[in-house]
Symmetry: C2
């Protein structure tokens, strides 16, 4: 009996932890990491703030877990494309396009993941996830090099450059300032402008041929 | 007399603040932001920890000031080259090379500025300084576009891509892990490999012709 009681408690604890993380992700997706306070979250979940601290020792630890949960989804989604069917060149284009689309459709969350100022625990995870993205690009660059589609000497370094370029390209368009400007009726870049420019930038950077129709006009 | 006493006190306060920041920068340059604790810093400066808090309300505020002090120097150094004499194409190459060199020669500081996990106040400044770098690149891209040296459609977006690529290219080589690997005798990229790859990446990305000798071999 003691064993079954313990197993049951562990299951319940795990279920509650999963529910806390889901509520926390919801908060970050709608208001960024600033909206993730222990008190508001405890209310969302319907538990006491003290119980929340039994699952996550600090706001930083919780934020880091939410970050990983959301980032892993993005890495998986990108990985499916970059490691999927098709030539490396097509996979790179499609991967960039989908990554920008996903960010565009959850702007607040994407900005939170990429650039929102936040606890050092999250910065730590950012470094780790950027390495995970870079590993996917490195694999793709190797494949493209072998086929002569890309001309990249230092694969790992250039994979990191791609990750940095993609993240930084999105920071501006996703930022709260851009949102305010858009809402004030000021001109803003469209998703297709951003994704097109990013694709052109990355293809050129790795020495890939540009699709004819996408030749940019300065 | 009251006026002179007050003026004297302000001067002294300002001098002490400057000295605190100089000591703090020294700490970050040799041990990163983790080495910047209020207590250790107060000892370096030779004042009580309480006095330190009269100048900087928190570790985050102090770290942000140190960050800005060091970053402004980098922005100024890069700006001198990017806005200096020569063709835009040459200025871009030289700017990238010098930026990488400066980082290489103060690795710990460069890693701290670019990527060390740290208080949100510093993340906030990182965003601002990345905009300052991007503004310099945007100006250069405009100039290069006009001369037909670069082929960039969305100047501001691509300027941000360059900033992201440069920062991310350096994170790996400057990281504490890379240092540990180097010290353990594992193979590591040299400054010239990093700076050459970065130059090739950026020149191609903006549609600039590559110098013949620098054509990369996959």
């Amino acid at each position: 009996m003691a064993y079954r009681t313990t197993a049951l408690r562990i299951d319940r604890d795990q279920a509650l932890r999963t529910r806390i993380l889901a509520c926390a992700l919801q908060r970050v997706a709608s208001g960024g990491f600033t909206a993730l306070t222990m008190q508001a979250l405890a209310e969302d979940v319907g538990i006491a703030t003290g119980s929340l601290y039994r699952h996550f020792r600090s706001k930083g630890e919780l934020a880091a877990e939410v970050f990983s949960l959301a980032s892993q989804r993005e890495v998986d989604a990108l990985g499916e494309i970059l490691r999927g069917p098709g030539e490396p060149l097509e996979r790179l284009q499609l991967g960039l396009q989908r990554f920008a689309e996903r960010a565009w459709h959850s702007r607040q969350l994407a900005f939170a993941l990429i650039a929102e100022p936040v606890e050092p625990e999250v910065d730590e995870r950012r470094l780790r996830y950027r390495e995970a993205y870079a590993a996917l690009f490195a694999e793709l660059l190797e494949a493209g090099n072998r086929l002569g589609q890309f001309q990249v000497a230092q694969v790992n370094l250039i994979a990191a450059c791609l990750v940095g370029a993609i993240a930084e390209a999105l920071v501006g368009p996703l930022s709260p300032q851009a949102r305010a400007a858009r809402e004030a009726g000021q001109p803003a870049l469209s998703l297709s402008q951003v994704s097109q420019s990013l694709i052109t930038f990355c293809l050129r950077a790795v020495g890939a041929p540009l699709p004819q129709k996408e030749e940019p006009q300065p």
